[in-house]
C-alpha cells in the first residue's frame, strides 16, 4: 500500500492523527477513573471529604490535582462524574481548571523545559496563577445554580441524598463493581472522545491551514515586541494549538521571541481553555457558560500575567 503524497489537506490528517493518538490514552485514563468513581465511590462522599463551608472547600479543590494528577483531557469525564456524585459546582469547576496545572507532573515538565531559563520562578508562577485563577472561577461559578450551568443530561444524573442512602443499602460485590465501572468508563469514553475528535479536527485545520501563513506569522512577530499584545497573541496560539498541559512547556520554553510573561499567559490559559476543550467542556457545561468562562479566563490570565510581569526575568520591552 503506497501512501498518499504529501499535500495541503494531507497536513490536516497528519496533525489530526498525531494529536488524536496523543490524547486518546489520557481520555481513557479519565474515563476509567470516572467509572471507578461511579462504581465504588458512594454518592455525596465528596461532601464528607471536603471542608463543609464553601470557600475552604473551593480552596481545597484547587489542590486535588496534587493527589490525582491529570491533564485537561482526562479531567473532564472525571468532573462530570464527580458533579453527579454531589461535588459542589464551585469545587468541581476549581478542580477542573486547576488540576491540569496544579499537579506534580506538569510542574516537573515545566521545570525541566525551562531549565536554565529561570525555571523555578516560571514553574511557581505557573502553578500559583493557575491555582488562583481556578479558585476565582470556582467562587464566581458557585454563585450560580447547577441548573444554569450544567447540561441538562448532567443535571439529570445528579444523585440526590435519598439515592445515596439507597445505594449504601444495596451491597455490591467487587465483580459487579468492576463490570459497572467498565460500563460507565466506556460510556464516558465514547461521549468524551466524540467531542475530542471534533475539537482536534478543528484545531488541526486551524494550525495547518491558517496559523503559520506568512502574513499572519509576520504580524505575530511584530506583535511579539508589543508590551500589551504579546500575551494575548500567545494565548490565542495556545487556544489554536490545543496542546496537552504535560507537554506545552517544552513547546514554548525554547521560544526566544516572546517575553516570559507572555509565555506564562500561554502556560496558564492553554490548559484551562483551548479549542479541544470547548468541545470537551460541552459534555458538562452549557454553551453560554463556556463562552463566559472563556472570556473570564482570558481576562483573568491576561491581567494576572501583566501584574506579575515585573517579577519575571525577561521583562517585555516597554512601549
Amino acid at each position: 500500500m503506497s501512501l498518499p503524497p504529501p499535500s495541503q489537506h494531507g497536513d490536516i490528517w497528519v496533525a489530526f492523527l498525531s494529536i488524536l493518538l496523543e490524547g486518546i490514552p489520557f481520555i481513557l485514563i479519565g474515563s476509567l477513573v470516572s467509572g471507578l468513581i461511579d462504581a465504588f465511590l458512594p454518592a455525596r462522599v465528596m461532601d464528607r471529604l471536603l471542608p463543609k463551608r464553601g470557600l475552604p472547600a473551593i480552596l481545597a479543590s484547587g489542590l486535588l490535582g496534587i493527589i490525582f494528577p491529570v491533564c485537561e483531557c482526562a479531567i473532564v469525564p472525571v468532573i462530570r462524574r464527580l458533579v453527579q456524585k454531589g461535588l459542589p459546582l464551585g469545587c468541581a469547576m476549581t478542580y477542573m481548571l486547576a488540576a491540569p496545572i496544579v499537579n506534580p507532573i506538569v510542574a516537573l515538565s515545566t521545570y525541566s523545559a525551562f531549565q536554565g531559563r529561570d525555571a523555578g520562578m516560571m514553574t511557581s508562577a505557573r502553578v500559583l496563577l493557575g491555582y488562583s485563577i481556578a479558585v476565582l472561577a470556582g467562587i464566581v461559578l458557585s454563585k450560580f445554580g447547577a441548573a444554569r450551568l450544567l447540561q441538562p443530561r448532567v443535571l439529570a444524573g445528579i444523585a440526590s441524598p435519598e439515592s445515596s442512602a439507597a445505594a449504601a443499602d444495596s451491597p455490591q460485590s467487587p465483580g459487579d463493581g468492576i463490570v459497572r465501572a467498565l460500563r460507565t468508563a466506556q460510556q464516558d469514553f465514547m461521549d468524551t472522545v466524540l467531542y475530542f475528535v471534533i475539537g482536534v479536527g478543528i484545531a488541526s485545520v486551524a494550525q495547518t491551514q491558517l496559523f503559520y501563513r506568512e502574513g499572519l506569522q509576520a504580524s505575530i512577530q511584530n506583535i511579539a515586541a508589543n508590551h500589551w499584545l504579546a500575551a494575548p497573541v500567545l494565548m490565542l496560539a495556545a487556544f489554536i494549538l490545543s496542546l496537552c498541559s504535560t507537554t506545552d512547556a517544552f513547546i514554548i520554553a525554547a521560544d526566544s521571541l516572546f517575553a516570559a510573561s507572555a509565555k506564562l499567559a500561554f502556560l496558564v490559559f492553554g490548559p484551562m481553555f483551548d479549542m479541544k476543550l470547548i468541545f470537551l467542556y460541552s459534555t458538562v457545561l452549557k454553551p453560554k457558560v463556556i463562552f463566559w468562562l472563556a472570556l473570564g479566563l482570558f481576562l483573568a490570565v491576561y491581567l494576572a500575567t501583566m501584574a506579575i510581569e515585573p517579577a519575571l526575568s525577561s521583562p517585555m520591552p516597554r512601549p
Binding site: 501512501l3 494531507g10 513547546i251
Partner: protein
Amino acid sequence: MKTPQPPHSHASCSHGCSHDHKHDHKHDHHDHHDHAHTPTPATAATDSPESSDDSAWNQQFLLFLEMLVLIMIAAVIAYFIASGRIDGAAPNMPYLQGYFKILALIGGLALAVMGIFNFLMRRRAVGCSHDHDHHDHDHSHSHSADCSHSHDHDHSSCTHDHSHQKDAATCCSHDHSHDHSTETAAHAHHHHGSPMGRAAALLFLSGSITAAAVLTPDEFSPRYMEQKARALMGRSNGAAPESAAPVPAKALADATATGSGLTLALVEKYQPRNKDGNFELGVMQLYYSGSDEEYARVMKDQPVETIGQVVKDEVVPGANRLRVFVLQVTCCAADARPYSIPVVFDGPLPEYQEMGWYKITGTVNYADERGVRTAVLKASSITPSLRPKDQRATF
C-alpha cells in the same frame, strides 16, 4: 415542552418512562411533563411489546457497534506502531515521540479489552448505586399519556434513565414490578440520545479515524514545513532536552569520575570520528552543544559534518550566511519546531536550493546570537544529500 416524536422513536418507551418518574420526582419539570401533551390514540397504539424488544435489541446492537469501533481504534494504533508508520515518513517527524508511543499502544489495547469485556458482560445485571430514587414512588401511571409524554422530552432530560429490566413494554401497561436496583448494559446506561443519534456518532467517530488513517501521507507537505520553519526559525534557545543531550552521558560520567574534566579523548571515545576524521553530528546535537560550556570548549574548531535542510539566514542576515535546520517533534507531530544553526562561508555562497537537504562539512565555532552561546558551522563544503532515514537514532 416539545413536539411529540414520530412513531418510529417509540422503541425507547421503557427508558423514557422510568426516567420520567425520577424526573418528576426530583425536578421541577414536572408540571411541563404531566399535562402538556394529550396522547393521540395512534401514539398509544404503537407502544406495543415489540417496540420494547426493539429497544433492547437496539441497545445490544449499539454495544456491539461500540465494541467494533473500540477494536478498530486499537487496530489503527497497533498497526501504526507495528508497521513503524508511527515514526512518520520524514526524518524527525514522528506522529508520536518516545514514551507517547508506548502510552498510545497500551491505551489502544485497553480500549479493545474494555469494548470486548462490556459486550460480553452486557446481560449481567449489576447494582446501580445512583439515582434510583423512585423506590418509594408510585409507579402506577396507568394511562398511556405518561408514555407519550416521556417521548416528548426524550432528548432533553431523558439521558439518565436507569430503566426496568426486561419488562420494558410495561411502561404503558402499568405493571411496575420491575427491579430498579439492577440494570444490564443492554438496557440501561446508554441513554445519551436516541439509538439513531448514537449510531451516527459512532459512524462519525470511526469514519474520521479511518479517513485519517487512510488519507494521511505520514508527513507534512513541504509547503507547510517551510511555512512553519520560517515562522519559528531562530526562535529557539535554551537547555537541551534529554533526547538531544550534546555530550553522551557516559562521557560526562567518565569526566566526573576521573575528575579531569571533559577532554577530546573522552568525547572521541563515545562519539567516534568517521573515516574523514569528522564528527558526524545531528543539527540538534550541534544546536544544543552551545548550552554546555565544557563541551563547547572541547568541540571548538573540531571538524564536523551534519545533514539538514538549508535556507538563507534571515535571523542574522549576511551575504555569506545560510542556516541549516531540522524540524524536531517534542511529543506529537503537531508540535514540531525547527532547530537551526548558522552556516558561514569564507567567500560568497555556493549554489544551493532553498529548503533542500544538504550534507555540510566544516568546523564548529561558537558565537553570541541574541545573547545565547550558539554553535556556528564554518563550512568548507556543502553537498546535496538524501534526507537521513532516521536522524532520531543519532540523538
